[in-house]
């Protein structure tokens, strides 16, 4: 017993298993300077969109930890879980010996980031506020994992699709949209959300686009007074049947009266990763069916 204990202690305090690897400095999306190894082969992702990006740029086989919600692509489910997005297990993360941990600002893990820093584990924070920011995340992560070409090809392809949407909706009259994050209590998207940008690209205008913060708790009265012409409900898939009905305050809105309430797969919209472009295409088709005939 003592032998086991001492040997495991020894292993812990011994030299790092990975061979010495040159470090270089990158600036993450929160403006932090992070030192990461040139060659990365152990990654932990703490958000579903980041897991999707890791797989999309071809570094999925180097993912050694993910959250409970990281369920796409299917291969991701084979990777060990390190907890929830909001409450990851620091012990499991350290035990999986990552060289870099990918975090989204949405999960607000400041204290946690500090603990990982103390363990000499690099934490890269992403904070996309527009579709271009998402493309930039994909490219930077691709570069970091030595998959620059693959990431560049992916971004080119995604950009082409996004531009096609923009071209199709360009001459359409923008639709005034209320994006319902949750109905009771009412939450929507504000100025700092990448979804406000995405909605604009899809030929819509968010009626709450000028509201401060990313996901404000919104007044029922203001929602009713905004008189949106369309309502988007991100629901289904990982969300289950949550958020599948519009808030009572919006029941008599022009959107509801004219049957312009669109349910769109929440996984395509609430994960700022490669599939966000699918969400963009789905929103654009819903808002401007005539432009895609």
């Amino acid at each position: 017993m003592l032998m086991i204990l001492s040997s495991s202690c020894f292993r812990r305090s011994g030299p790092v298993v990975t061979p010495p690897n040159e470090l270089h400095e990158v600036t993450d999306e929160a403006g932090r300077r992070v030192l990461v190894p040139r060659k990365i082969d152990r990654i932990v992702s703490l958000a579903p969109n980041l897991t999707e990006i890791v797989f999309a740029v071809g570094a999925g086989d180097r993912l050694v930890g993910r959250t409970r919600y990281c369920d796409y692509p299917a291969e991701a489910k084979a990777v060990a879980e390190v907890g929830d997005t909001m409450t990851p297990s620091i012990e499991r993360i350290i035990a999986s010996r990552p060289q870099v941990v990918l975090v989204s600002t949405a999960s607000q893990l400041e204290a946690f980031t500090r603990q990982l820093n103390d363990q000499q584990i690099a934490v890269y924070v992403t904070n996309p506020q527009s579709l271009d920011d998402v493309f930039r995340s994909i490219q930077t992560l691709g570069d970091m994992f030595g998959e620059a070409t693959r990431a560049a090809n992916l971004v080119t392809d995604l950009k082409k699709r996004a531009d096609a949407v923009l071209a199709a909706t360009k001459d359409q009259k923008p639709v005034r949209v209320f994006y319902q994050v949750s109905g009771s209590p009412l939450y929507t998207i504000g100025r700092e959300s990448y979804l406000t940008d995405l909605l604009r690209r899809a030929g819509g205008i968010s009626v709450t686009g000028e509201v401060a913060s990313a996901y404000p708790r919104f007044s029922d009265e203001a929602a009713l007074a905004a008189r949106p012409d369309a309502i988007i409900l991100p629901s289904g898939s990982a969300m289950g049947d949550a958020n599948s009905t519009i808030a009572p305050a919006l029941r008599n809105s022009p959107a509801a009266l004219n049957n312009r309430v669109y349910k769109i797969n929440a996984d395509h919209l609430s994960r700022p990763g490669p599939r966000l472009v699918i969400g963009l295409e789905e929103m654009a088709r819903a808002l401007h069916p005539e432009a895609f005939k």
Binding site: Y69, D84, T85, M86, T87, S182, G183, S184, P185, L186, Y187, T208, V211, A212, S213, P216, R217, F218, S219, D220, E221, A222, L224, A225, R227, A238, M239, G240, A242, N243, A247, P248, A249, N252
Partner: protein, 339 residues
Amino acid sequence: MRMNPAREAYTTVQRTALVCGLLLLGLLVTFVIASTFGSQRLPLSASLCALTGKSDCGLSPEQQAILFDLRVPRILLAGAVGMCLAAAGAGYQALLRNPLAEPYLLGVSNGAAVGTMAALVFFGTHEWSRPLLAFAGALAATFVVYRLARGHTGASPERLILAGVIVTTFLSSAIVFITTLMDATRIRSFTFWLLGDLSGTTTSLLSIAFIAAAIGVAVLVINARGLNLMMLGERDAFDLGVEVSRVRLTVFVAASLLVGASVASSGSVGYVGLVVPHLVRLSFGSDNRLVLPAAAIAGAIFVIVADTVARTVIAPRELPVGAITALIGAPLFIYLLKR
């Protein structure tokens, strides 16, 4: 010089009627003022005209909907919740002879919150299960606190508060535990609800809150005389002919009903049951026949004012009403203690 008992009863009734009448007038004024405030500006005179029940006041259909479908039900709910919590607080304080007894501090609100969450998790589609389980949770928490507080030496105020702290923290952990097990997508709405949220009420929850408020306050007022005598000590009250154990049980059940109904419809709004009865006692003395109904009306005013602030101060965004009641309540309470 002794006052004629009949005359004393008469003056109490008169005084109660006068004070409650004035408070009701205040409540009406608060209601009208609160309905003219919101994240959307409505034309003042047209709104006042519409509130009197006239149909052609020049409000657009949207403005009509904002006023009558959203704002007025929310103000009514705020009133019902304030009534429930303040009356329950006054009831607990009289019964437990402890000025700090309050649904939130005793853990009763948390008991009701656990009940409501259980209802949402297990019977999500049946709205009526929420107030029912909230009531059960409040009742269970009340019972446990009371039993914990009664040691060999009887219930001391310190023991009671300690018991309340224990039950509150235990149930808070239970709440955290349940939220952890729940769907991630529902956590945000729960954290908001736990601090008190009066938006998005339904007609059935609103009517349940009102029925519970009416029954609960009425039962407490009926038992006010017994409570007055019990404030002298349960032994003395018993000798004076009060059925102590019956009054105690009735008041506990009524107070739990009030707390359960308010938590099921709006989450945990803190400090109302503490601040309002104290203000009422400071202003009008501690006769429960006056304090109980007066606290109920003043509680309605307090929560309506707090919620008006919550829904307007950072409009079109909103704050949880519980944050406002605590923000007003805590300093006010410190001031009262220092006086």
